[in-house]
């Protein structure tokens, strides 16, 4: 029953992202911000990447938990594919951030708790992929990488959220000493920002669905070869 209406979220993703791209690039800015100027438009793309990355990593974490509960290989498949997609969005987040940082801070990479956190979370999931590829036995691979995924997600990803509050100020907006937060954003920009974030997340879910189906097919094909 639900399968019949699955196209709806894909259509919503297309509509929202088209809107975010067109409106984000053409909207008349309500104010002249010092230093940032027109580059504020990157907000709709750069910040969306991080929200999407966290969302997809959260999916990966939840499916690792579910895998340890019932040892269903399909749950592990979702966890693995979600981690890969999260990495792609994370890298896009870093690249879009580099453009922005180059324009506003004068260098593509600066010393900042949030940048350190972003690099760390990517390292965690690269390590996860390496761990997966180093175990041959499928059942063991699924179980052990799920253990690492849960351990790493809680200890690294959550502490990345806590760390900037301990280790001092970030150059990023929304931190102490900065005038700009998402909640304090002009309504005309917020009207693009929220749909854009939702659009990117739906796009990631769409990619995830396709990748999981491909992985399933690949699995049945190789299994048939062995029989």
């Amino acid at each position: 029953m639900i399968a019949h209406y699955k196209w709806i979220y894909k259509a919503v993703a297309i509509v929202l992202l088209t809107y975010a791209l067109l409106a984000g690039l053409t909207v008349k800015l309500p104010y002249e911000l010092p230093v940032i100027y027109e580059s504020i438009r990157n907000l709709f793309y750069h910040v969306g990447m991080w929200f999407t990355m966290l969302f997809v990593f959260l999916i990966s974490f939840i499916y690792s938990l579910r895998h340890l509960k019932g040892f269903n290989p399909d749950h592990d498949r979702v966890a693995a594919q979600a981690a890969q997609i999260g990495l792609v969005f994370g890298m896009l987040g870093i690249f879009t951030g580099m453009f922005w940082a180059n324009a506003t801070w004068g260098a593509p990479w600066v010393r900042d708790p949030k940048l350190n956190g972003a690099a760390m979370s990517l390292l965690v999931y690269f390590a996860y992929i390496v761990l997966r590829s180093s175990i041959a036995d499928e059942e063991k691979k699924a179980r052990i990488s799920a253990v690492y995924n849960i351990f790493a997600f809680i200890l690294a990803i959550i502490f990345i959220g806590v760390l900037p509050r301990i280790s001092g100020d970030s150059l990023h907006p929304g931190q102490a000493g900065s005038p700009l937060t998402v909640a304090g954003l002009d309504p005309s920009l917020r009207a693009i920002f929220y749909p854009a974030v939702l659009g990117w997340i739906l796009l990631a879910v769409w990619i995830l669905e396709i990748k999981v189906r491909m992985s399933r097919l690949h699995n049945t094909l190789t299994e048939r070869d062995y029989d």
């Binding site: 390496v130 761990l131 351990f151 790493a152 301990i166």
Partner: protein
């Protein structure tokens, strides 16, 4: 019951360590020789920040190396024998305690080696030692479960480094902040917040390890 099992497992590990002193002596030699190399390279003159960085880098590698072998012999057939003696909870807690002991000793001896070769360019020794001990306890707790994962994957040493560094980093950043404080200002009031964060993190690590280890233990 479980405390009995833990003490027996801990005793077994300590006995094994005493029977093969070359393993611990090897770690010690690694510490002293790297510090000596630093002494030669830096000509004995090291500013506070470099001192701090060197201390944690050397200690991190020593910790990854020594904790990395904590399961190297356990997941063979012998581990089927343990299976009949103790539960996974006792097993992982025993291993953690053993690593805590080992790394605390290593970190203190490392501090001694640093003092001898590079001096101690700072304000408060007691505060730095507290941070060093707190740091080595945390490293030991965290690396024990990662060592279990790496041992299960059977590519022990490279994987150990890859898997542990990104998880160790948040903790290491807090620690470096703490020791930086000990080296420059030595204000105890500034040390309280990071220490509480560390304690919360250690509690979380222990809970996670106890919950997750049975899945590594199962064949």
């Amino acid at each position: 019951m479980i405390i009995n099992q833990i003490t027996v497992l801990l005793q077994k590990d300590l006995n094994l360590e005493l029977k093969r002193p070359f393993l611990f002596n090897g770690m010690l030699l690694y510490l002293v020789s790297t510090v000596f190399v630093c002494y030669l390279v830096f000509d004995g003159i090291v500013d506070t920040k470099t001192w701090n960085a060197l201390y944690w880098i050397i200690l991190l590698f020593a910790a990854v190396n020594s904790a990395g072998r904590s399961f190297s012999e356990e997941f063979s057939r012998r581990h089927l024998y343990y299976y009949t003696l103790a539960g996974p909870t006792a097993f992982i807690i025993g291993k953690m305690l053993y690593n805590v002991l080992l790394l605390t000793i290593l970190s203190l001896l490392g501090f001694l080696a640093f003092m001898v070769f590079l001096g101690f360019p700072a304000e408060s020794k007691s505060m730095f030692l507290l941070a060093a001990v707190a740091g080595s306890i945390g490293l030991a707790l965290l690396l024990t479960l990662v060592a279990g994962i790496a041992a299960r994957a059977e590519h022990n040493f490279t994987l150990m480094a890859i898997l542990s560094f990104p998880i160790v980093l948040p903790k290491l950043l807090i620690l470096i902040n703490l020791t930086q404080n000990a080296l420059y200002e030595a204000q105890w009031s500034l040390a309280i917040k990071p220490l509480i964060a560390l304690l919360a993190m250690y509690f979380l690590i222990i809970v996670l390890a106890v919950v997750l280890f049975p899945y590594l233990w199962k064949e």
